[in-house]
Amino acid sequence: MRVEVHDVTYSVPGRQLFSRLTHTFAGTATVAIMGPSGSGKSTLLGLVSGQLTPQSGLVRICADGDGQLKPLIPAWIFQSSPLLSQRTALDNAMTASLMAGHDPEESRLRAREALHCLGLGELRVARVSGLSGGERQRVAVARAITARSSLILADEPTASLDPDARRKVIEALKHASELGALTLIATHDPWVAQQCDDRFWIEEGQLVGDEKRRLG
């Protein structure tokens, strides 16, 4: 899995977020994207997903090794992820997998497993509208994991969680990476960044790696 960001420039009114940014995310890893508020973490995920279009440059998502372009729907996790509020936690966890064309029974099993890992096994038949914010967030994480997408984009996935739930979410995301997903996590949380395989900071419109930053 390769995500190539090539010579990307992106501005919002009054501010340039990225200037000729070039970077490649490769492999099946968890990657933390850090930076102060407004630095462009969410924007970078938006550019990678195709939700945002760069003013110049391009973003390519390539299949493993062969360099071919591949239609890919990334799995999203937001700080406050949208869910189908009238449906159960299990239904929500299955949605992305069903929409990806996976077998319903297989999707159900995976969703149950993901909910169990995230500490929501007992609540799987509860309506999402009756869950707390933290529980809802974990349902969204379960949905992203169950979809088995090769690319997971997580925008502050642990911001509203208590330490135990936060740990479960990161473990689940790391497990997804072990199963073959590249997981990009935009976060402010140093603990979350520490758990990831790679860490990058956004500084002056560029991505700066862990070591480079230390040397700097």
Binding site: P82, Q86, L98, M99, A100, G101
Partner: protein
């Protein structure tokens, strides 16, 4: 890409997860369909009844007379029965009175007529009935007559066989106490009565002025003078107020559906973010809409059509009008599918979820 069964499964799961709302919406749609067609049926029935009354009183019956002493050709008068725009035509050739052996104390009025005449004067008579000897209802009551009864007439060697008894009042009051006897080989009639199809009265009226030929001009006049507001039933049906009811109800359903989709736009955006394509999101909506709105609406319409089928069975024009109303109702409601699909296909999930 989601499979079709996955899309169906999502739709059923959504409906199952909100049973009260789903059943309410479906019930509302079916009641709306039922009432809209009920309004149409009631209106069509009113117009049909009003025209039946007019027709029964003779508003579409034309009387043709001539100044020629011999009268009009009976054959030409009967020939009018072959025209599509003529319901029935016939004339009276002679009148006589006789004494019935059934009730010798009372005289019996006998009208000698052409075969088409009884159908003009008694609109309720079935076209398939043998109308050779028709007794008025009053006469039948007084003399104890019934269809198939054979009775003798004084000074006449052949008895008469009553072939039909008129159940309704005759259009000509003088016939209330008469027996009409059809005579096939009459040569002339004193006047030719012609019942035109309600929508063709003017055309038949124009035709009759030259129909009989002959040296003397003919007079054509209506049995019941028409009112200024009288048009024809087809025109009344096409101008009725209830015609707009089904279209309005269909638009109401479409608007309601659009509003509900707008209210649920975050759910559809969520599906998009969960990986559903634009097409799949539109399919989700279209199926849900069809199940919750279109099918119950059609069910309500069908229920009303079945209930009113018996009442409308005999009025072809009315049935056509009702079917057009039903079709326009369903068409208006179904229009919501492409319109709302267009809205959904343009939905930006990120912006929608941010509330923009």
């Amino acid at each position: 890409m989601a499979t079709r069964s996955a899309v169906w499964g999502e739709v059923f799961a959504t409906i199952r997860s909100t049973p009260v709302a789903s059943i309410s919406v479906a019930l509302l749609s079916s009641v709306l369909g039922f009432l809209a067609i009920f309004a149409s049926v009631a209106d069509v029935q009113r117009i049909t009844d009003s025209w039946n009354t007019k027709i029964a009183s003779g508003s579409s019956v034309l009387t043709v007379t001539t100044a020629t002493p011999a009268g009009l050709s009976a054959a030409r008068c009967e020939l009018l029965n072959d025209l599509d725009s003529v319901v029935a035509a016939g004339g009276r050739t002679a009148s006589s009175s006789a004494t019935s052996l059934l009730l010798p104390s009372r005289r019996l009025q006998i009208e000698h007529v052409t075969p088409g005449y009884p159908r003009v004067v008694w609109p309720g008579l079935d076209a398939g009935t043998n109308l050779s000897v028709v007794a008025s209802s009053l006469l039948a009551k007084d003399f104890g007559l019934a269809a198939g009864l054979v009775f003798g007439i004084q000074d006449q060697p052949q008895p008469l066989v009553v072939t039909a008894v008129a159940s309704a009042e005759p259009r000509i009051p003088q016939l209330q106490n008469s027996l009409t006897v059809a005579v096939a080989d009459s040569s002339t009639v004193e006047a030719c009565l012609v019942e035109a199809a309600p929508s063709a009265v003017r055309d038949v009226e124009a035709l009759l002025t030259g129909w009989f030929g002959g040296p003397d001009p003919v007079n054509v006049f209506r049995m019941v003078p028409p009112k200024e507001t009288d048009q024809d039933p087809q025109r009344d049906l096409s101008q009725r107020l209830s015609m707009s009811t089904p279209a309005a109800a269909g638009c109401a359903v479409a608007a309601l559906a659009f509003l509900l989709v707008w209210a649920r736009r975050k759910d559809f955006a969520t599906y998009r973010l969960a990986g559903a394509t634009r097409r799949e999101t539109c399919d989700l909506f279209a199926l849900e809409f069809a199940l919750l709105y279109c099918v119950p609406l059609a069910g309500g319409v069908l229920a009303q059509l079945i209930i009113s089928a018996r009442e409308l069975g005999e009025t072809t024009v009315g049935v056509q009008a009702i079917l057009i109303d039903a079709a326009s109702l369903l068409a208006a409601a179904t229009t919501a599918i492409p319109v709302t699909t267009l809205y959904l296909s343009r939905l930006d999930p990120m912006r929608t979820l941010k509330g923009e």
